[in-house]
Symmetry: C2
Subunit: 217 residues, 2 copies
């Protein structure tokens, strides 16, 4: 096994890695020790060539004529994604969406830990979710520093999303997952991913309207 040094992988490749990772985790739980790109691809709906190409951006993880050792490949992809590190997450805004994300069980499958919650509503302050107390916004800098927050989930109204983002970045956060339907401006050294729920739903509407045209024969 040879790790390529800081290979540049495409956005599309990186988007698929967590899917590989999860599927390998499941295969492990089924007691499968060796898996081929063919079988992995079948499980997640990706071609075996695509998987092999994706992996080749980072190194050689398989054995020719054999396949991939499940636990080894899972560990390697985990390291590529940085899942071997501990990531502390904060959620800003505990409305319905923030509340749901604070309770979301599947983040732990990737090893993410929710360590801080913030909300403007004084009525919510002190309230706990899984042992994490909801803090007021004026404690944001303090708590982000204390809990060593790396990534923040922005789940506040659009009007205040940029302001919260600025405060988070000033406090040392380097990754933002934005659920507000607004374009956030962040410095180059901060990573941002947008989760635009109504925009995604609109693409389904498009597909339904153009179903006949879109459909494969």
């Amino acid at each position: 096994m040879l790790l390529k040094k800081m290979m540049l992988a495409s956005r599309a490749t990186v988007d698929r890695l967590p899917i590989y990772y999860r599927s390998l985790k499941e295969a492990m739980q089924e007691g499968i020790e060796i898996i081929s790109s063919e079988e992995l691809g079948r499980r997640i709906g990706v071609t075996p060539e695509q998987i092999r190409k994706d992996l080749s951006s980072f190194g050689e993880f398989g054995k020719k004529g054999v396949g991939y050792y499940v636990s080894e490949l899972k560990r390697n992809i985990g390291e590529i994604l940085g899942l071997h590190k501990q990531w502390n997450i904060a959620i800003v805004g505990t409305g319905h969406l923030g509340w749901a994300l604070a309770h979301y069980r599947n983040f732990s499958e990737m090893g993410f830990l929710i360590k801080a919650l913030f909300d403007v509503d004084p009525a919510k302050q002190g309230l706990e979710i899984d042992g994490v107390a909801i803090e007021p916004i004026n404690k944001l800098a303090e708590v982000v520093a204390r809990e060593q927050i790396h990534i923040a989930i922005v789940a506040v109204p659009s009007e205040v999303a940029q302001e919260m983002t600025n405060a988070l970045i000033a406090a040392g956060v380097h990754g933002i997952w934005n659920f507000a339907p607004v374009k956030l401006v962040v410095p180059d050294n901060v990573s941002i991913v947008n989760a635009d729920l109504s925009a995604e739903l609109a693409t389904i509407s498009y597909q339904l309207v153009h179903r006949d045209a879109t459909q494969k024969v």
Copy 2:
């Protein structure tokens, strides 16, 4: 203005259309009547060439030397996305995530209406969100037919996601938005979009780990 007949637009283009739509809606509220691809692009972080190219898949919507009439372009993109139609949405699973989506205010910005809610938990049945009652799963077919549901949001545990999806499709649903971290198998004439929350979060982890490599100079 000339509408191209059923032009085939790329996935990437379709993903951007809702962003254009929302930004035009905002411009309209600001009282702006004419907008250039330059200004629209500046607002949402897309190059003007990209916007013009995207729109050209569907027709000619602007005036050379002038720009786009905001309300006209908004209407046209709305029609391309199918937002002029009424889409009835069902949510299957009213756990934290389903509950949050049932309360999500921004779906209405695109004209989507939540018309049905389902949950296995008998304790929840009869409970209402915005006047829509939570129904048991055994009423799924009946309620989907009665409320003429077009699109379903699957927010149930992975173990039962495929089963629920099958029931929804059998009941006449043609679009599925899947929040369960599992690959769903659907017939060709059904559109499916996956919202894989922990996978998305893992891409932020990747970016943080590879920050130095990823960063633009």
